[in-house]
């Protein structure tokens, strides 16, 4: 039925099967949409957020999803700026995942604010001193860039490609893609960083506050670094999942291996920086404010010292070592473990920087604050996941995302 839309030289499942898969995803999406509408029309009382947890599940999801979407900018950076040409075989997918992540991030933000109809104030009445302003500007600009990076791919759909205008447009855009990618990398570097700055500048919140360089707290750099390290891991993870579902190989091992190796080194250097940051924070920043490290990890099993160990050791050092060593990368099981740990690691980092910052008491006469998300929050957080799956499914089905697919899976 939709064969005209399917790229040449590849095989796709039947439309019926695809539709079933879509119906299942749309059902989840609708659940999220209902929750979203509830939040918009009834207000944020639909959530379990409160005055202590002004930032909660959503902001975590937002930060995590952007970190994971970092694969797009970093892979683009490697391909177009550094010149790692092999990566052209995965860059398309990295861009698709990036678009999903950034659309999700903006959608979550649109639900998260108390007055969505006023959200354009962040642009119009911008406070240039606020990290959130920087986030909003770079985030939306970068989404524009990502869409620009995605468009040529869309125009390569057999049906669209037939139109000369789109054909040429796609071609022209490909030609100057390095400029877009460079701008994207610049924007991305800043917004990944400013997301780190969001918590790092909170000098009233000793758990989050970091000293830094000029106007940027150390978290600014750590966030960019970790997004660059773990974003590609997420791209690899999604690629592997896609391969599992499609039941065929889509990207050659040497491409994955190269990306993973770079990720490994990034993760390794990041985790050293992170350890140094944690030590400096614990040894110099905190005592000046009358705190010791353990003040932020005691009295609460949920945020016990284990979370720091898991973040740094289990989800930092271990995957870095595996990914750096070629032996580790060769061992399939170890490799996937490392990829998953790295992805979890960056999510834990974002979780901690948002949630633990809110939970930890600052005034001596307060106690730890606890919070459980409401179903509306969970549903709206799952909504982007469903959206992502739908988007990726469409993209995979109808767009020539994987240049090596036909070579790896010749049709008889």
């Amino acid at each position: 039925m939709d064969s005209a839309l399917i790229p040449k030289g590849v095989k796709r499942c039947s439309l019926g099967r695809f539709s079933l898969w879509m119906i299942a995803l749309t059902a989840i999406l609708l659940w999220g949409v209902i929750a979203m509408l509830l939040c918009w029309f009834k207000g944020l009382n639909q959530t379990n957020m409160n005055d202590a947890y002004g930032f909660a599940l959503w902001i975590w999801a937002d930060l995590a999803v952007i970190a994971l979407g970092g694969g797009a900018f970093f892979t683009g950076f490697l391909k177009y700026i550094v010149g790692k040409d092999e990566l052209k075989n995965i860059i398309n997918y990295a861009v698709v995942i990036g678009v999903v992540c950034y659309v999700s991030a903006l959608l979550i933000l649109a639900i998260d604010v108390g007055q969505p109809l006023r959200s354009w104030f962040i642009f119009w009445h911008a406070n240039v001193h606020s990290m959130l302003t920087e986030v909003a500007f770079c985030l939306s600009c970068y989404l524009v860039v990502l869409i620009i990076e995605f468009l040529p791919l869309l125009f390569e759909n057999p049906k669209l490609d037939r139109k000369p205008f789109f054909h040429h447009l796609s071609h022209n855009m490909h030609e100057i893609m390095a400029i877009f990618a460079a701008t994207g990398a610049f924007l991305s570097f800043f917004h990944q960083g400013s997301l780190g700055g969001v918590s790092g500048v909170l000098f009233g919140r000793p758990f989050a506050f970091r000293e830094g360089l000029f106007i940027w707290p150390w978290t600014f750099f750590l966030f960019t670094w970790s997004a660059a390290a773990c974003g590609p891991c997420f791209t690899i993870l999604i690629t592997r999942i896609t391969e599992k579902i499609a039941k065929k190989k889509l990207v050659k091992d040497n491409v994955i291996d190269l990306l993973a190796k770079i990720s490994g080194w990034m993760l390794g250097t990041y985790i050293i920086a992170k350890i140094f940051d944690t030590w400096y924070w614990a040894a110099y920043t905190l005592p000046k404010q009358g705190f010791s490290l353990i003040d932020f990890y005691s009295n609460n099993p949920f945020y016990g010292i284990w979370i720091l160990i898991v973040e740094i050791f289990v989800c930092g050092i271990i995957p870095a070592v595996i990914l750096i060593s070629s032996k580790g990368r060769k061992n399939k099981r170890l490799f996937m473990t490392a990829i998953i740990l790295a992805v979890i690691g960056v999510c834990i980092n974002r979780w901690v920087m948002v949630m633990q910052t809110m939970a930890a008491p600052v005034m001596t006469f307060e106690d730890w604050f606890m919070y459980y998300p409401s179903w509306q929050e969970v549903a709206t957080t799952i909504l982007p996941v469903a959206f992502g799956a739908i988007f990726i499914s469409f993209a995979y089905r109808y767009l020539p995302i994987f240049p090596q697919e036909s070579e790896l899976n010749p049709i008889d």
């Binding site: 001193h129 524009v144 860039v145 000369p164 400029i179 701008t183 924007l187």
Partner: protein, 52 residues
Amino acid sequence: MFPFCFEWVWDMSHIVFMGGLWYALGIVGAGLTYCIVKAAKESSDNHSNGDH
């Protein structure tokens, strides 16, 4: 966002921040315009040549 916005001040932070932003937007906008104009031109040329 714009110099005519109420909050605008001609200070270093605004110039650096908004400068960077408009610079990036400018590049993206210009690149995109270039591609579109060129594609429009090419596609109409192609049409007249009829060599699609």
